[in-house]
């Protein structure tokens, strides 16, 4: 991507005029060096997004292989060994190499733009974050050529101990956690410092865009949770190779210690993955409802409350482990509590739609799709929080359905909404809206076909992580539906990917503010110049860009044209 910006083609420019200058000559040859050596948050953000979407495709292929194996009973496409490798690779890839870093990618690109800063606080540390992530991915995927790990993404010992998992794949997994962990930790500190120190004049905490709130809390949660998992995997490493017995029951170690340490990280991790998605939805909905977000303070506060409570619910992953009843009761109630701020968010989002003037763009389709699928994921979460019910549903396909509704339906739909929304800002070109909407329907239908029937599978007793099943169990029909759905879902995702790749060259020119949006990133050109802003306006509300637009309209007496957005204008 060159830093040359598209000259606005329309007659009059937005006022105040954006006078961005070329601050450096683009490189004529060896342009890839620009990417390798860059400390520009936008280039790093783009590299994050491209890399994580590549991992998303890899994880998706792994999922499709598993679904193909489960399509019919007694299938022999994939052996038990390779199935376990696939489920470990799929879970690890999607969590550590896709959802968490893709949020860092969006954060990298948009945090400085949305708060009116010229870069992140520590640009070189920012580059380090990205390259560490890439190293983590390479270390992990290199195990494909030897022996991938097969103990699941939780890697419960003793199964992950040297005795039962002698291969180096398990060690590759440990190093992946270390490398991506340091990457995220460094990135989190960077986000925190940037947001705390580098906001535009007038942008008090009460005027911080909700996406920035969510990235701030995402950073805090990463700083709380990651050291714990770093310690745990280090203990696993020393157990495996240096003769310690932290988790070894034959030498007074305890596998339950690992379970507690892992999920003390693992549950905040769930909110690390979903909170930035919440933030994106909180940005997209008010823009396309042409209406301020309903209950800004409630949404910001609920983000903080969710983060606080998320550190108090980890043992609901251990309801079947050896634990006293009173502990189970505590974690049931704390898990209920977290449903309340989440309910507040869903209520505020739906109220934002009420009496709005909804512009149904592809991004809005995904945002509303998010509301519906995330609602299902949230509701099934209540079932699982009730520990006696969890005794029946834990480790079944009901749980698989639940967390795919939350993470695939929740986080990924939010990511797609965000990508369709911010694509014009990042590339200067609009996505194909029609293709985007078709892709939405294919994705939405495929997603629900794949995962809705998995609730029924879990209820009828199918445990997760089994590589085959017998025809007389009554699971065959649901599994076949789920497999067919997964291929439809795959096609839907590929349509979106095709849309993103194609629109980069062939999309319509977007102009600085195609959506009539609310936040500062739309105040600069698309894509933004290296320095982001020549002058940063004073922020007077949560919606600074809207204020500017209204001001201009009042001064000039006519509707502000928004470069390329004519197709979305009301007739």
């Amino acid at each position: 991507m060159s830093t040359t910006t598209q000259a606005p083609t329309h007659a009059f420019r937005p006022v105040p005029q954006i006078l961005v200058h070329e601050v450096h000559q683009p490189r004529k040859n060896r342009q890839w060096l620009d990417w390798v050596l860059t400390t520009d948050h936008k280039k790093i953000g783009i590299m994050y997004l491209v890399l994580t979407f590549v991992f998303f495709i890899l994880g998706g292929v792994e999922a499709l292989l598993m679904r193909s194996q489960l399509a019919v009973p007694n299938n022999t496409l994939i052996s038990g060994e390779h199935y376990n490798e696939l489920l470990t690779m799929h879970g690890t890839t999607m969590i550590f190499l896709f959802v968490v870093p893709v949020m860092a990618g969006f954060g990298n690109y948009f945090v400085p733009l949305m708060i009116g800063a010229r870069d992140m606080a520590f640009p070189r540390l920012n580059a380090l974050s990205f390259w560490l992530l890439l190293c983590g991915g390479i270390v992990f995927y290199a195990s494909l050529f030897w022996h991938p790990p097969e103990a699941g993404w939780w890697s419960y010992p003793p199964l992950s101990s040297i005795q039962y998992s002698p291969s180096g794949g398990q060690d590759a997994w440990i190093f992946l956690i270390h490398l991506t962990g340091i990457s995220s930790l460094v990135g989190a500190i960077n986000f925190y410092v940037t947001i705390v120190n580098m906001r535009a004049p007038g942008m008090s905490w009460g005027r911080l865009p909700l996406f920035i709130w969510s990235i701030l809390i995402y950073a805090v949660l990463l700083i709380i949770a990651l050291p714990v998992v770093a310690a745990a995997v280090t203990m696993l490493l020393t157990d495996r190779h240096f003769g310690t017995h932290w988790f070894d029951p034959t030498n007074h170690g305890s596998p339950v210690l690992w379970e507690n340490l892992f999920w003390f990280f693992g549950h905040p991790e769930v909110y690390i993955m979903i909170l930035p998605g919440f933030g994106m939805i909180s940005e997209v909905l008010p823009v396309f409802a042409r209406k301020p977000i309903f209950g800004y303070k409630a949404i910001a506060a609920s983000t903080i409350v969710i983060a606080f409570l998320s550190t108090l619910v980890w043992a609901h992953h251990l309801f079947t482990a050896p634990m006293p009843l009173v502990v189970l009761g505590f974690f049931m109630l704390s898990s209920f509590l977290i449903g309340i701020p989440t309910g507040v968010k869903i209520f505020n989002w739906t109220a934002t739609l009420w009496r709005g003037s909804l512009v149904m763009t592809a991004s809005m389709y995904y945002a509303i799709g998010f509301l519906i699928v995330f609602l299902i994921g949230g509701i099934t979460g209540i079932f699982l929080a009730v520990f006696p019910v969890d005794w029946q549903l834990n480790d079944t396909y009901f749980v698989v359905a639940h967390f795919h509704y939350v993470l695939m339906g929740g986080a990924v739909f939010a990511i797609l909404a965000g990508t369709y929304y911010w694509y014009p800002k990042m590339t200067g070109r609009l996505c194909d809206e029609r293709l985007g909407k078709i892709a939405f329907w294919v994705t939405f239908i495929g997603f629900n076909l794949t995962f809705f029937v998995q609730h029924a599978l879990g209820l009828s007793g199918m445990p997760r992580r089994i590589y085959t099943y017998q025809p007389d169990m009554g699971w065959s029909t649901y599994n076949l539906i789920s497999t067919i759905g997964s291929y439809i879902l795959g096609i839907g995702i590929l349509m979106s990917m095709y849309n993103f790749v194609r629109s980069y060259k062939h999309g319509k020119i977007a102009g600085p503010d195609p959506w009539k949006a609310n936040t500062l990133e739309w105040f600069t050109t698309s894509p933004p110049p290296v320095n982001n802003f020549d002058s940063v306006p004073r922020v007077r509300s949560v919606e600074p860009m809207r204020d500017i637009r209204l001001e201009v309209e009042a001064q000039t007496g006519r509707l502000q044209k928004t470069g390329g957005s004519e197709q979305f204008a009301r007739p």
Binding site: Y164, F336, I372, I382, P388, V389, W391, L459
Partner: protein
């Protein structure tokens, strides 16, 4: 404030106009019908497996209550979203109402959410004793009791030790099965568990290698078998001549999918006969092994400590 009032009024107006009031009446009615159906129908799609043991039935009832509430919440929220998309798209409603929030509405809906969760928590704690406390066995059965696990009020129960290992379940029958199974020459079996109907069966669950999870859906919830720990659960099979199927629920290695478990419920009389036969068979096998060991030791092939 005035805007907020207008907002609430418009909300109520919409309720009147669009027949949502009908929905408000219909939703509880539908929930009631649903409960009746869920309790009677054994539809495999939307309810838990039940009927094998009282604890499984209690969990299923709890599940049904939550499911009813969940359906209502889902229908209301999705109905609201779909109505908004239909009613307020830009072509129909060109000017958006510029409101920033409504504290009273916000608080009341938050309280509604709290109330739903309080109801679920209360129902859970009401149902809990029937799920965790083993009931008395039916009268007239003579049984062996263990010392450690929670017991039924009159102490009459059958204790079975369940030991998981890659990739099979072993069952040892009788009191002290976790302590003195070898000395007491207790009978055991693999994969298929034989139990008498009408008797409270206490399970002591252990693992000898990695973490497994014991689970027979129709006989209650699952319990992890963690090496180094003993966990407990119980069931009371209601009907004889039933075969219940389950399998290990915690990833335990490459053949995890084939770590199945069967529970065969027979009458107490058949059980007594089976136990006697099994004890006999185990004793015979032990005798044979002892003879072979003695022979091999005499021949000098086997050292007294048992090494070749």
């Amino acid at each position: 404030m005035r805007r907020a009032v207008i907002f609430v009024r418009s909300l109520l107006g919409a309720v009147r106009r669009s027949g949502l009031r009908f929905a408000a009446v219909a939703a509880p009615l539908a929930a009631a019908i649903y409960f009746a159906l869920a309790q009677s129908a054994s539809a495999a799609c939307c309810t838990l497996k039940t009927g094998g043991s009282p604890n499984a039935t209690s969990i299923a009832t709890l599940y049904d209550i939550i499911f009813g509430l969940a359906v209502v919440v889902f229908v209301v929220v999705v109905g609201f979203i779909l109505y908004s998309i239909w009613k307020f798209r830009a072509s129909k409603n060109p000017v958006a109402l510029q409101i920033h929030g409504n504290t009273r509405l916000e608080l009341s809906l938050t309280l509604t959410a709290v109330l739903i969760l309080v109801v679920i928590a209360a129902v859970t704690f009401i149902k809990l004793p029937s799920i965790v406390n083993p009931p008395n066995s039916d009268a007239g059965t003579v049984l062996s009791a263990s010392l450690t696990a929670p017991k039924p009020p009159n102490g009459q129960e059958l204790t079975i030790c369940v030991t998981g290992r890659q990739f099979i379940w072993r069952y040892t029958y009788g009191a002290n099965c976790n302590k003195a199974a070898w000395q007491d020459k207790l009978p055991y079996s693999y994969q298929e568990m034989e139990v008498p109907a009408g008797v409270t069966v206490n399970l002591l669950i252990q693992s000898s290698d990695v973490i497994h999870a014991w689970w027979i859906p129709a006989l209650g919830g699952k319990v992890d078998a963690v090496p180094g720990f003993t966990t407990y659960t119980w069931f009371k099979a209601l009907h004889a001549n039933e075969l219940y199927h389950g399998q290990c629920a915690q990833l335990c290695g490459r053949q995890h999918a084939f770590m199945t478990a069967l529970v065969k419920v027979v009458t107490p009389k058949q059980y007594a006969a089976w136990i006697a036969q099994q004890t006999n068979a185990v004793a015979q096998q032990n005798d044979q092994v002892s003879q072979i060991r003695a022979y091999l030791s005499k021949m000098g092939t086997l050292t007294p400590s048992g090494n070749f």
